[in-house]
């Protein structure tokens, strides 16, 4: 069962490490183990990506993970199966990341009911902006699944509107463009976080481009957490089914810096 307070607990009295992976990469049988390895390394919340044929917000690393997973014909039900397995062993907050079409196609009511049944706490939908969020908010609310809002460097005048209605946490996109490791993170993130903090207590976590401990340490001076995806997915790409130890150690190396 989902528990709306679980996401809150990830940010309680600490800076949160949020890890991302694409479910089914390299195989659906590895995904639960990788999630648990992140938790053992100190992750406070995990984003589980439902693979999609056309992940337009992703850079090459995560796009390749989507393709690997789809070559194995990973389905939405397979991803729910993974979450059910994780929930038998862990109470870590779990958030699904999915493009809207797989959710729409599955059927909104059936999808969010299943989220609740298996213990998903929230959802991030990169192609569902504020203007269209009513598409799912009623049904997500009905099942207690929190729709995570995104704020980007181009949000500007939209930040207040978005932050006011935010739930769970706010995903602050650090840079223009798509996901992927960057050497330099725009350090102009503070005004965005300040604008968010003026209107809401919802925690703000920064993602896109982060892969090193020093970058993460700098960002959490302002932000409530960091989100790391491509760096973890790159470890899975490199080490395949044997990636657990590498993931655990990597998460540990970042978490200590927060």
């Amino acid at each position: 069962m989902s528990n709306p307070n679980r996401i809150k607990s990830a940010f309680a009295n600490q800076k949160a490490f949020i890890g991302f992976l694409t479910a089914g990469d390299p195989d659906i049988s590895n995904t639960a183990e990788f999630i648990l390895a992140m938790e053992e390394g100190g992750a406070d919340l995990i984003e589980v990506g439902i693979p999609f044929s056309d992940p337009v917000a992703e850079g090459p690393v995560i796009e390749a993970a989507n393709i690997r997973a789809l070559e194995k014909k990973v389905s939405v039900d397979d991803v729910f199966g993974v979450i059910r397995t994780v929930r038998q062993k862990s109470d870590i907050p779990l958030v699904i990341l999915s493009y809207l079409n797989p959710v729409y196609f599955y059927g909104y009511d059936k999808f969010f009911a299943e989220c609740k049944a298996v213990g998903v706490d929230g959802i991030i939908i990169p192609d569902l902006p504020y203007e269209e969020c009513r598409e799912v908010t009623d049904v997500a609310d009905k099942y207690g699944i929190e729709l995570i809002s995104l704020v980007t460097p181009t949000s500007q005048n939209r930040i207040e509107m978005i932050a006011k209605e935010s739930k769970g946490f706010i995903y602050v996109v650090s840079s223009l463009g798509v996901t992927g490791i960057r050497d330099e993170i725009d350090n102009n993130i503070k005004p965005t976080i300040d604008a968010i903090k003026r209107v809401t207590d919802t925690p703000a976590a920064v993602g896109f481009g982060i892969n090193r401990a020093d970058q993460a340490a700098e960002l959490v001076q302002y932000a409530d957490g960091v989100i790391i995806g491509s760096a973890i997915v790159a470890l899975i790409e490199e080490h395949g089914a044997n990636a657990s130890d590498y993931i655990r150690n990597y998460v540990k190396s970042i978490k200590v810096a927060l």
């Binding site: 917000a57 789809l70 809207l100 196609f105 192609d127 980007t152 181009t154």
Partner: protein, 396 residues
Amino acid sequence: MNNTSARFGEFGGQYMPETLMNEVHDLEKAYARYKDDPAFLEEFDVLLHEYAGRPSLMYHAAKMTQELGGGKIYFKREDLNHTGSHKINNVLGQCLLAKKMGKTRVIAETGAGQHGVATATAAALMGMECEIFMGKEDVKRQALNVYRMELLGATVHSVTSGTMTLKDAINETMREWCRRVEDTHYVVGSVVGPHPFPAIVADLQSIIGKESREQILQLEGKLPAAVIACVGGGSNAMGIFRGFIADEGVRLIGCEAAGKGVDTPEHAATITKGQKGVFHGMKSYFCQDENGMIAPVYSISAGLDYPGIGPEHSHLHDSRRADYIAVTDEDAVSAFEYLARSEGIICAIESAHAVAGLIRLAKEYTPDDVIIVNLSGRGDKDVAAIARYRGRNVYE
């Protein structure tokens, strides 16, 4: 010009990454300001007449009418426009709008290369930087168009993600727009994408329908019984349909690409075989699998090789205002050859799908009925591929 509401029935919307939402709203505001601005419209009108060569001809195909033995056939000759297709109407309007918005750079996707060539042309004319994204498969299929775009000063990027065709070119153009939005306008090539693109492109292409209506009333003193056009994303069809949607007696027919057949996996027949979904910023019909993954589609025609269709078409279909039929590669190639022999016109393989639709439906009409077919583009680009389809090794 009209209709800039965000939806057509339940279809359309703005399903875009947050990064682009302010930009999309800026475009909405700019378009709302200029679409009825007399100075802007005058400038656009001058470009259409003096640069693109409008109005395009309404040609009575007497020989084909006699041979097919049904309705009286007319072709709306968009193939005679500068750059060889209807695409020029849209790009001149969008580049003009982009300039008014202070943009100095345009980006665009292209399938067959027609929209890429048209965008590169408009960018050259208006002194804008231009980058075109084209699937690697299409770069191979349409090498000559790649060189044309380069001649016109554009940079062409070969897209190697996904199925390496039109949908992936759109994905990559959207990614590029997310990376660099400040000085850049995305010249969407069809009546697809998030609002306001479907409305803008339909408005800019509605000149086809406006002229057609005036021309046929002058020539025949009555409205046509049917209007036929090919449909990929659907901009040439929407352009000509716009002239007749309010005339309930005019049957509107869109011809989709059935590729190797709608009962095979190799087709791009979105209305015939697709299901409702949300992709590329819009709710519409899409070819997709049992998990909601966008399906790899196929057509001999690169311009129709797209897994979706514009939201206004989805609405015209659901409200039964327009009919959509599927045309195979084989029927399209036969129609391409037949039109060449019968009327001496080599049309685009995309447009040949509409001609095949005409051949199928002509007999349902009598000589008193007028049928207009939108000949959306010329076929020079397709000649070598058609020869190869027929087993002749011709290379450009």
